[in-house]
Every structure is written in structure tokens, then in C-alpha cells.
């Protein structure tokens, strides 16, 4: 068996582009799914039953469907049943946002519910509206508590973006697979892909540990 690692260097531009798209997908998904998760959590905790039910339905649907199915569905079925037709990148982004928003919603809901009732009462007794109490008193405290969980979600998401390769979004996994099929260098490309994911993912996991330590709840 002879190895030819030169393909990695030869196709470096494609791999770098893939890394760029992987990072872009992760960042954009979180930019949507953090506010989206907060919104869904607030809806679910609201006193308006139809808002709460709508949010619950959304969360339970997307939390319990395999992400890859959502990706396929958005790519093949959505254009059939509606007029919406997105680029592969946007389709992948949409599927990731739906999935991660549902997860983040549960994270924020748990965080909000972990703040004891007296905090809201103290704010309300001072004349705060319920909305002011939520945004000035409850959410800032809940945010600190859920930050480590969000960071873990981030790391998981970074790897899960590889799933959108199935609809030919040119992120790292798809780029590696494309190079593999063009060069037939299976071992080299899959190994290179593993090394790249690991080298990018490991520092993020370490960062999560650091955040967990730094934002430990101190009351």
C-alpha cells in the first residue's frame, strides 16, 4: 500500500474553502438559533396558550427528527410542496437552524426555570413589568447558567454541519469527499478530514471547559 499525502496539499484551496463554509454555517446557525431559542422558550413559558402550544409543537417536532431527514426534506420536498426554493447552502442553513433552535429553546427554558421565583417577585414588587423582569433580571442570570450548555451545543453543531454535505454544500466534509472521489485517495482524505475536524474541534471543546469554569454560578 502506498500513501500519497500530497493530495492534501494539492487540494488545499478546496479544503480551506470547506473549512470556511463549515465555520460560516456554524456561526450563522448560532446567530439565528440563539435568539430563536430564546424566543421559543419565552413563547413556551408565556401565559398565552396558543403561543405555548405552537412553540411546544415546533420544539418537539424538530428535536425528534433526525437532522439528516430535515436536510433532505428541505432540499427535495419543500420546493415540491411550496414555491420556496433555496440554494443548497441556504437549505442546509435552514435545516440546521430549525434543529438547533429547538435544542436551544429547551436549554433556555431550563435556564429560565432554574432562577428562583423570588427574583421575579422582587423585580415586580419594585414596579417592573413582567417583560422588564424577564429581560433585566431573569434572562441575564439564566444566560450565565446556560452558557456552558450553549458552548457544548456549539461544538456539536460544528461537527453536525457535515450532515449538509448530503445536499452538496461545499463544507469541509463535502470538499473532502469530492477530493476523494476525484483522486481515489480514500485513506488519505478521510484521515486528513478527521485531523482537520479534530484540530478545529479540540480547542473549542477546551474553550467550553474554560467557560464552564469561568461562569460557574456564584450566589
Amino acid at each position: 500500500m502506498n500513501y500519497d499525502w500530497s493530495v492534501v496539499w494539492q487540494y488545499r484551496q478546496m479544503l480551506l474553502d470547506g473549512i470556511g463554509i463549515t465555520i460560516l454555517l456554524t456561526v450563522l446557525t448560532m446567530l439565528v438559533a440563539v435568539p430563536g431559542g430564546i424566543l421559543l422558550a419565552l413563547m413556551r413559558l408565556s401565559s398565552m396558550p396558543w403561543l405555548a402550544r405552537g412553540s411546544t409543537a415546533f420544539v418537539e417536532l424538530f428535536r425528534n427528527l433526525p437532522l439528516i431527514l430535515v436536510v433532505y426534506w428541505a432540499f427535495y420536498v419543500m420546493p415540491m410542496v411550496s414555491d420556496i426554493e433555496l440554494s443548497a447552502f441556504n437549505t442546509g442553513l435552514l435545516a440546521l437552524c430549525l434543529n438547533v433552535s429547538a435544542y436551544n429553546s429547551e436549554t433556555f427554558r431550563a435556564g429560565i426555570q432554574s432562577i428562583r421565583k423570588g427574583q421575579a417577585e422582587a423585580a415586580v414588587a419594585l414596579g417592573f413589568s413582567n417583560t422588564q423582569a424577564m429581560f433585566k433580571i431573569i434572562l441575564p442570570q439564566a444566560w450565565r447558567r446556560v452558557l456552558p450548555v450553549l458552548a457544548s451545543t456549539w461544538v456539536a453543531l460544528f461537527k453536525d454541519t457535515s450532515l449538509v454535505s448530503v445536499i452538496a454544500v461545499g463544507e469541509l466534509a463535502h470538499a473532502s469527499m469530492t477530493i476523494r472521489s476525484q483522486t481515489f485517495r480514500v485513506l488519505e482524505m478521510l484521515t486528513a478530514m478527521a485531523v482537520i475536524y479534530w484540530m478545529l474541534g479540540y480547542p473549542q471543546a477546551k474553550l467550553v471547559d474554560w467557560i464552564r469554569e469561568k461562569y460557574k454560578v456564584n450566589e
Binding site: E121, V124, A125, L126, F128, K136, P140, E219
Partner: protein, 258 residues
């Protein structure tokens, strides 16, 4: 139930709070059975009685943290409103101090006192901070403005909570067992702040198990048991000469001997 006000000097002044036959249920549990009582301007009214007798519930109904099931609460002669916006206006004029302080742990001491001024009253940050600093000076915590609640003793936290309530310039202060969660050595500093407030003429409703404080500072003492008022009167009468047997039993249980 005796509601003779012959010995109640405060009754000559205008009422701040009137409770008229209020009831409160939690599911099957009847917490309040038709409570009627009055609080007059400048009075210190202490609510005493065994745990679970309804004292705290009365306090929590006063600023609508709990809704009453029937009866009426009047604030300055006006019925406590039901809609959210009007309730918020009423709450701004009532300071509340909680058993567990409920300081905001993500804000430092100064911010804890200032946040309602900016959020609720729309004051600018500089004015709010200046006012908050004056309030902290009043409770003797000028040197702790930068500290976070986690780095304060229980007594200090409760004094910050009092300053936070006072900053809104309330007409009445509601204290819900303000010293029950404190170490014995820090109870005194909180009671002394409360005593100063009373001397300045603040109208105060205090739910407490501190009988010495109630005896010395209260103008009027109301004894609760099982969701009813069993006796009320001037503190000297309640503590030195209670007319109801159950009051005597309760005070004896606390080791009160006059």
C-alpha cells in the same frame, strides 16, 4: 375579634391600607378567612403568629403578588386595581423586603439599588446612581457599593434590599420576616435600620418573629392564627396583657416573658 381603636393614636390619621374581609385559598387550603385590618399613616404594624397562620399571605396580597379570592384591599382609600398597568403604579409606592433578600446576584450593590430607578422611573443612570448611593449611605453601606451580593453578609444583603426598596420613595414598607434568614449576630443591624425608619415616620407593616422588636417598635400588633386575626392592640397590651388565651400560648412558646 376586638377592633376597638380607643388606644390607637394612629387611627386619628388617614388610613394607608384597609383590608376588608379578604379571603385567600390555595386549592383546598384556606389561607385567610375574611381578614379585616387597617394601617394608618406613620404607624408600625407588626403581624405576629405561628408559621402558616397567614401573616405573609396578607403582605403578599397587599402588593398583589398574590390575588385575593374575595374582599377588598384599599390603598389610600382606593381599591387595589386588577389590571397590570395600574397594579404596577401601586407597587411603585410600596417597598417590599423579602425573607431571602432577593438581591439581583448579577448586579453589584449600587446597581441593585439603582436598577428600578432607571427601569421603572426612567431616571438617567447618573441621577439613579447618585440617589442609590444616598440610600446605601442611609443603611450604612457606602463602602460596599462595588460588592456583589455573594460577597456580602446576610445582614448587609438585607440592608441593601431595604435601600433598594427605599430608593423608590415608597409610602409604605412591607417587611416579610426580614430577619428570619439571618445569622443571630447580623439580626441587630437590620432591626436597627428598621427602627430608624420607624422613627422617621415611615408607615411599616412587618411580619416578624422578633418579639422584642415588635414590643419596642410596633404601634399596633396583630396576632394571627390559622388564617384569622385572634387579637390586635397596642404592643404593650398584646405583650404584657394579652386578652386571648391563644396569644398567651403563642408568646409562651416563643419564650416571651414580658
Amino acid at each position: 375579634m376586638s377592633t376597638s381603636y380607643t388606644h390607637r393614636p394612629g387611627a386619628l390619621r388617614e388610613p394607608v391600607l384597609n383590608y376588608r374581609n379578604i379571603t385567600k385559598r390555595y386549592g383546598q387550603f384556606q389561607a385567610l378567612h375574611g381578614i379585616s385590618l387597617d394601617v394608618f399613616k406613620g404607624e408600625v404594624v407588626c403581624l405576629i403568629g405561628p408559621s402558616g397562620s397567614g401573616k405573609s399571605t396578607v403582605l403578599r396580597c397587599t402588593n398583589a403578588l398574590e390575588a385575593i379570592n374575595s374582599g377588598e384591599i384599599l390603598v389610600n382609600g382606593i381599591t387595589l386595581p386588577k389590571d397590570d398597568r395600574s397594579i404596577r403604579k401601586v407597587r411603585q409606592r410600596m417597598g417590599m423586603v423579602f425573607q431571602n433578600f432577593e438581591l439581583f446576584p448579577h448586579k453589584n450593590t449600587l446597581q441593585n439599588v439603582a436598577i428600578a430607578l432607571t427601569t421603572v422611573l426612567g431616571m438617567n443612570v447618573a441621577d439613579a446612581n447618585a440617589h442609590a448611593a444616598r440610600m446605601l449611605e442611609k443603611v450604612g453601606l457606602s463602602d460596599k457599593m462595588e460588592n456583589y451580593p455573594a460577597n456580602l453578609s446576610g445582614g448587609q444583603q438585607q440592608r441593601v434590599a431595604i435601600a433598594r426598596a427605599l430608593a423608590m420613595q415608597p409610602e409604605v414598607m412591607l417587611f416579610d420576616e426580614p430577619t428570619s434568614a439571618l445569622d443571630p449576630e447580623t439580626i441587630g443591624e437590620v432591626l436597627s435600620v428598621m427602627k430608624t425608619l420607624a422613627e422617621e415616620g415611615m408607615t411599616m407593616v412587618v411580619v416578624t418573629h422578633e418579639m422584642t422588636f415588635a414590643r419596642k417598635v410596633a404601634d399596633w400588633v396583630i396576632v394571627f392564627d390559622q388564617g384569622t386575626i385572634i387579637e390586635q392592640g397596642p404592643s404593650a397590651q398584646i405583650f404584657d396583657n394579652p386578652t386571648v388565651e391563644r396569644t398567651r400560648t403563642f408568646l409562651n412558646h416563643l419564650g416571651w416573658s414580658g
